[in-house]
């Protein structure tokens, strides 16, 4: 009898090209997503060494981090030049490198362009059982479809481009089990924030997370993408969901997905991608869905979470002295005081977008809360940034853009936008943002910016109230 294996072990074993005596493995990479920020130095390295891309056919390039989200073409259909010279230069480098190395490329004005982690699944480029890498830590997102997906640095980008492999040691495995039905107004974002709050930002270091249990099984693929996306915020380079019928249904018919006889063979194989009965995980964490409330972060680490009904914690309440110090620093940076109720914290900026929460279901959920309502007077800017051109088009077909615009939001072009202070979308110093993104680090949304991570519906609620608010008070509970 063969040894019972976890899902991670099955995918890993299928990709080992060669195992060395010290346990290091040469691992084959099936899919490589390339964006403009972490690739120029890698292409330059290839050029200097006279090397080619081994498998351009398994590689896809899309600009996302640095593209402005304002209009990209004028009324005459001409491309609008990018004002920032360095950004323009970096985007031009990808536009040049992709054809030079024979890589498929979705440019900034292509309907297929978007955030790499939205584009991969949407195009059927991301498939179960595959190894997928990208020079971006949120590559973990693709694990929602059962792909072993992880972020890499630029040297590794160059290594994959040149060899289609990476030198890796196997990770440990961490089972994250959530059971039960999520409460009214509670979303996938709240679940992953609750998990990170429990295990801490280093809790998954050295591990691959597998999301197990009835709560995850009941989730849509897009919700699973939100969860897996933030595995890295819990320290894990990858998250994994066992592919199921929902996964196959999601992938079927997408432009780059297998077709005909290949499809049937693929699905047959994908059905084997489950953790075997009796397989052993190195670590287990279990949460009950019923304990998870709509959640907000209060500090400068994604582990600093509190239910919306809660208050800013007192740094003195932490047992660990370094955590006490970090919390005090966080509160000073965030301009908050211990004991302040989260619902009393005013907000000036709203950002709905990022690879965590910019898919059609996210936009539908936020629009449902905003429908017929207006953003509060105190809101200086409210942005909604679809994750891709295709998401944008679908939202417009459904009339969601009108709901957002009538509520007072700006409807933008796809990209990473305000998730990171890189392109023109930023939060000014000292101002506060309710953001559906994934990191609330100091300066993440711009120098001095104060970020609170929330779900799309909670961002919508904050927009309406001008402060953090419990979205459950603004929604019709159809279950009640």
């Amino acid at each position: 009898m063969t040894k019972a294996r976890t899902l991670y072990e099955k995918i890993w074993d299928a990709h080992v090209v060669e195992k060395r005596d010290d346990g290091t493995c040469l691992v084959y990479i099936d899919r490589h997503l390339v964006h403009e920020v972490t690739s120029p130095q890698a292409f330059e390295g290839l050029r200097l060494a006279g090397r080619k891309v081994r498998r351009p056919d398994l590689t896809l390039a899309v600009p996302d981090h640095n593209v402005p989200t304002t209009a990209r073409v004028d009324a005459q259909g001409q491309r609008i030049p990018i004002v920032n010279k360095e950004s323009a230069q970096q985007l031009a480098a990808l536009e040049r490198n992709a054809p030079e190395f024979g890589i498929r490329y979705f440019g900034a004005t292509d309907i297929n362009q978007g955030i790499v982690h939205v584009v991969g699944p949407e195009q059927g480029f991301t498939l179960p059982g595959m190894t997928l890498v990208c020079g971006d830590s949120h590559t973990a997102a693709h694990g929602a479809l059962g792909a072993l997906a992880f972020g890499i640095g630029t040297s590794e980008v160059e290594h994959v481009l040149a060899t289609q492999t990476l030198l890796l040691k196997p990770s440990k495995t961490l089972s994250i089990e959530v059971e039960g039905e999520l409460g009214f107004g509670v979303t996938a974002k709240d679940v992953i924030l609750a998990i990170i709050g429990r295990i801490g930002t280093a809790g998954g270091t050295g591990h691959v997370m597998e999301f197990r249990g009835s709560t995850f099984r009941a989730m849509s693929i897009e919700s699973r993408l939100t969860v897996s996306n933030m595995a890295i915020e819990g320290g894990a380079r990858s998250g994994l969901f066992a592919p199921d019928e929902k996964t196959f249904e999601y992938i079927k018919g997408r432009p780059m997905a297998p077709q005909g006889a290949d499809w049937d063979r693929a699905v047959e194989y994908w059905r084997t991608l489950v953790t075997d009965e009796g397989a052993v995980f190195d670590k287990h964490v279990r949460l009950d869905a019923a304990d998870i409330a709509p959640t907000v972060t209060w500090g400068t680490s994604p582990e600093d979470v509190v239910p919306i009904t809660g208050a800013v914690p007192d740094p003195e309440s932490f047992a660990d002295p370094s955590k006490r110090e970090a919390a005090a620093k966080s509160l000073a940076y965030m301009g908050l005081t211990a004991g302040q109720r989260m619902e009393d914290v005013p907000v000036e900026h709203i950002f709905i977008g990022s690879c965590t929460n910019s898919r059609i279901e996210d936009l539908r959920a936020a629009a449902a809360v905003l429908d017929g309502r207006k953003i509060a007077d105190g809101i200086k800017q409210a942005l909604v940034v679809p994750g891709s051109g295709l998401v944008k088009r679908q939202a417009e077909d459904e009339g969601l853009d009108r709901i957002f615009v009538e509520a007072g939001f700006e409807w933008r072009e796809p990209g990473c936008s305000m998730c990171l202070g890189m392109n023109p979308d930023r939060v000014p110093s000292g101002e506060r943002c309710a953001s559906t993104s994934n990191r609330n680090f100091m300066g993440r949304q711009g120098p001095g910016a104060r970020t609170h991570l929330v779900s799309p519906v909670m961002a919508a609620a904050a927009a309406i109230k001008g402060r953090f608010a419990d979205v459950r008070d603004l929604m019709v509970n159809e279950r009640a």
Partner: protein
């Protein structure tokens, strides 16, 4: 890559936990298409605070950082490693590192030395007045006060660092093995190549 054997000199007694890559190098600096010049942006936000260790003349040009748990968490940006190199840092000592950062550091010849918190606490004290010495061959960290801490390092990484090896060149030399894997795989997974859009 230049071989790495020892790193010796003053060390920034930084000590902070969960230092994320946005702290090491803010996103504004990621627009570069080069690997150099990022030192100016390193720890930019912290350097605005008076009395920060990075602008303390005692530690100017120090090749070592002594930090807290989970150093380098967050994004995969290799710019974090490039920024450290550009400011003259050749080694970071901490109780733990994020996986992606430690890989990026290694690829750029930065030693990431994992030591228990007690050892790190001791080095944070010593760093205020004296030098610290890291010997990769013997896997030790020593101080002028006879402190001697040993650390673990992956043998493959160690040999690459000591030899200054080009990992891509090494893997490319195995092109035939990779080709054989691809040929086998094409039989078992005919759906590997994405359909043309």
């Amino acid at each position: 890559m230049e071989p790495v054997t020892t790193v010796e000199g003053r060390a920034y007694p930084f000590g902070m936990k969960n230092v994320d890559t946005d702290i090491i190098i803010p996103a504004e600096w990621l627009k570069t298409i080069s690997r150099t010049g990022l030192g100016k942006g390193a720890f930019e936000a912290l350097r605005k605070e008076p009395g920060n260790v990075f602008d303390d003349p005692r530690y100017a040009g120090a090749p070592i950082i002594v930090a807290g748990d989970n150093f380098g968490c967050g994004s995969s940006r290799e710019h974090a490693a490039w920024a450290l190199i550009d400011m003259g840092v050749k080694a970071v000592i901490a109780p733990s590192f994020s996986d992606i950062f430690s890989g990026n550091a290694f690829k750029n010849g930065i030693l990431t030395v994992v030591l228990p918190q007690e050892a790190v606490d001791r080095l944070l004290e010593v760093a205020k007045t004296d030098t610290i010495s890291i010997d990769l061959e013997h896997q030790t960290v020593t101080t002028p006060y006879q402190d001697r801490f040993t650390f673990e390092i992956d043998p493959f990484r160690k040999s690459c660092l000591l030899g200054g090896l080009d990992e891509i060149g090494l893997t490319m030399a195995q092109g035939d093995t990779i080709g054989a894997f691809e040929a086998r795989d094409a039989q078992t997974r005919p759906w590997l190549v994405p359909a043309a859009a």
